[in-house]
């Protein structure tokens, strides 16, 4: 990125019209990926000078216990409902969960879920890291997930969405193919990095369950309705004659929120709705990135963007 400049220069402008149509396997319209955060929050983490880990003096047992509810109760409930309706998870993983709760990680792996890194802990922030420190985190993530699951991570979602100016260049250098940290589009797009090809994977922060429940204060049924409208709209746009072709819908989740007993029922209605619709490519983030890179999508989007760069010049 262009550090210090007003526009970080991460990607090119590409308006949501006159796009080369993207196509998904089997002629499906919306690539739907469900992204559970499997996380570990430390009860007494070291302080990062740029951000407090818990609002109250440690131990913030309500905040900590709420997250721990995920690993004791809610993950299992959420995973069962997803499996019942044919949704594999694409996991943003606090990789230290591989040490703390190997059974949760093994369960997700056995279900065929994909893992990408969400840092070591969601209580350790990237702010202030030098390059060697950030490389250590990335190398730790690759090694830890490989040792625990046999998977080689392809993607990154920064821990607690904390970045440095070099994060995207580094993950591309280490061979990752996608980032979930940029929220500028409903289709995948190239990210400008120093080496390799990095895809921005659409990850809707706005329909994240945390935003639904704690930013917009939705009731569980309002949130479920929101997801269904999001899906219906993206499917309709993908089908439109003048539309952009295949769209992407991400459902980012935290089991300690979505799998509370008062929320999981309405959420199951969402999965049922999408699965029954027939227009969804129900898939994983890495599969979307692979398809986008191998089917000419990446190059087509780059060509679209170049066309506008010329028009603007």
């Amino acid at each position: 990125m262009r550090e210090g400049e007003k526009d970080p220069g991460l990607y090119d402008f590409r308006p949501y019209r006159d796009r080369t149509k993207l196509e998904w396997p089997g002629g499906k319209k919306v690539a739907v990926w469900v992204s559970p955060n499997l996380e570990f929050y430390e009860i007494d983490p070291p302080a990062n000078p740029h951000r407090k880990s818990w609002p109250k003096p440690h131990p913030d047992i309500v905040g900590y216990g709420h997250r721990d509810y995920a690993n004791r109760v809610a993950h299992w409930r959420m995973a069962e409902v997803m499996e019942k309706h044919g949704f594999k998870g694409s996991v943003s993983l606090s990789v230290a969960l591989c040490q703390h709760h190997p059974d949760v990680v093994a369960n997700a792996n056995d279900l065929g879920w994909e893992f990408f890194s969400h840092g070591i802990y969601n209580t350790r922030y990237s702010y202030g890291m030098d390059e060697a420190q950030e490389r250590a985190i990335i190398e730790d993530s690759i090694r830890t997930v490989r040792d625990a699951t046999g998977q080689t991570i392809k993607g990154w979602l920064a821990p607690a969405l904390t970045h440095t100016p070099r994060t995207l260049d580094l993950i591309a250098e280490y061979g990752m193919t996608y980032t979930c940290d940029l929220y500028h589009d409903d289709q995948p797009a190239p990210v400008r990095v120093k080496s390799g090809k990095l895809v921005s994977m659409p990850y809707s922060i706005e329909v994240n369950d945390h935003y639904g429940f704690f930013v917009y204060n939705m009731s569980p049924r309002e949130y479920a309705e929101t997801l269904m409208r999001q899906y219906d709209r993206l499917a309709a746009e993908a089908e439109a004659r003048d539309g952009p072709g295949g769209t992407v819908m991400c459902i980012p989740l935290h089991s300690y929120l979505i799998a509370q007993p008062h929320r999981i029922g309405p959420f199951e209605d969402v999965l049922r709705h999408i699965a029954a619709d027939g227009r969804a490519w129900i898939t994983r983030s890495g599969d979307i990135a692979d398809h986008f890179l191998s089917s000419g999508g990446y190059d087509a989007v780059a060509a679209d963007a170049a066309r506008y760069a010329k028009a603007d010049a």
Binding site: E42, I43, D44, P46, N48, P49, K56, P57, H58, P59, D60, I61, V62, Y64, G65, H66, D68, Y69, N71, R72, V73, H75, W76, R77, A96, Q99, H100, H101, P102, D103, V104, I120, Y121, R124, Y127, G128, M129, D130, Q133, A136, I137, F213, N217, S219, P220, R221, Q260, P261, H262, R263, I264, G265, P266
Partner: protein, 309 residues
């Protein structure tokens, strides 16, 4: 300047929790529990009965629901008192009408100031647990151990004197504990605490002084969270509680295992006239559901403990 290299050290990165209070326990690995009468869902109603001094303390932190405006904040002081004088009696009547048992977490200042309310609660068959001394008595790790112990023992002793026996359970203000709280509660003779939100079933916490049971508390399933924070209506609360009940009934049937549905109430929130009809109707539907067992915290612990050990 880059981060101190200690930030990349992880001395507690190992299997299990990063503290010694309890061990992991994934729900599918648990032995199924059964509630009395074969009821699948234990509903634990918990009321916070609180006295907010008009002189709020900010150390270690100001309690949720505390004073807002510059001194003297008559608006919030009297609105909270309305909850105790009026709203709480509406709740007691609603419990009686539905024939259900609740747990009342009481600031000991309530017992000192209004002893008749303690008699009214016990006379109606509800359980009282200790809830600090008053709403200035918040606990956090920044409080020194003696000061925290004094809050716990004063709350216990004052309630014991008015109740005629010591309360068995404890709930902290804002569910906030220090690293010492569970041990201090064991030392003060408490059997269970209702602060931890990490489970749908009770579990046992281990301290240097012995063990204490954690009674499940769900801070999302509370009127303060849903109505005061999320700004939902009581009608929406009713839908959410019933959705939770439906799900837990189905889960109990699927796994042949009892579940717990905690629901926390605040007199100055639910006890308002315009919310009571919806609340009473909800309670009536839940109480007439054959799947529910309305249990106080103590009844829940007594039913759970012999099965868990």
């Amino acid at each position: 300047m880059s981060l101190d290299s200690a930030y990349l050290e992880y001395p507690k990165r190992h299997e299990g929790m990063d503290h010694g209070l309890y061990t992991p326990s994934p729900m599918p690995s648990r032995k199924p529990v059964a509630w009395p009468g074969g009821k699948p869902v234990a509903v634990t109603l918990l009321v916070n009965l609180e006295w907010f001094p008009i002189t709020p303390e900010d150390k270690p932190f100001r309690a949720p629901g505390h004073m807002v405006t510059p001194y003297p904040d008559f608006r919030h002081y009297t609105a909270r008192e309305y909850g105790t004088r009026v709203g709480f009696y509406r709740l007691l009547d609603a419990f009686a009408k539905a024939g259900v048992t609740a747990t009342i977490a009481v600031n000991s200042a309530i017992a000192e100031r209004y002893p008749s309310i303690i008699a009214d609660i016990l006379g109606a068959g509800h359980e009282i647990i200790a809830h600090a001394t008053d709403m200035n008595a918040t606990i956090a790790s920044t409080l020194d151990e003696d000061a925290e112990r004094a809050i716990i023992t004063q709350a216990r002793d004052t309630l014991a004197q008015v109740m005629g026996k010591a309360p068995r359970g404890w709930q902290s203000i804002a569910r906030s504990q220090s690293f010492d709280t569970p041990r201090l509660l064991v030392e003060a003779g408490f059997d269970y605490m209702c602060d931890w939100v990490n489970d749908d079933l009770p579990w046992v916490a281990t301290t240097d002084a012995g063990t204490i049971t954690s009674v499940p508390f769900n801070h999302e399933l509370s009127d303060r969270q849903m109505i005061a924070v999320q700004q939902h209506s009581m009608d929406s609360v009713a839908v959410q509680i019933e959705d939770a009940l439906d799900w837990l009934k189905a889960e109990a049937a699927q796994y042949g295992a009892g579940r717990v549905l905690p629901f926390t109430l605040t007199p100055y929130i639910t006890g308002l006239p315009y919310r009571m009809d919806a609340f009473e109707a909800l309670l009536g539907r839940m109480a007439s559901d054959e799947a529910t067992w309305f249990a106080s915290a103590g009844q829940l612990v007594d039913a759970w403990k012999p099965q868990a050990v």
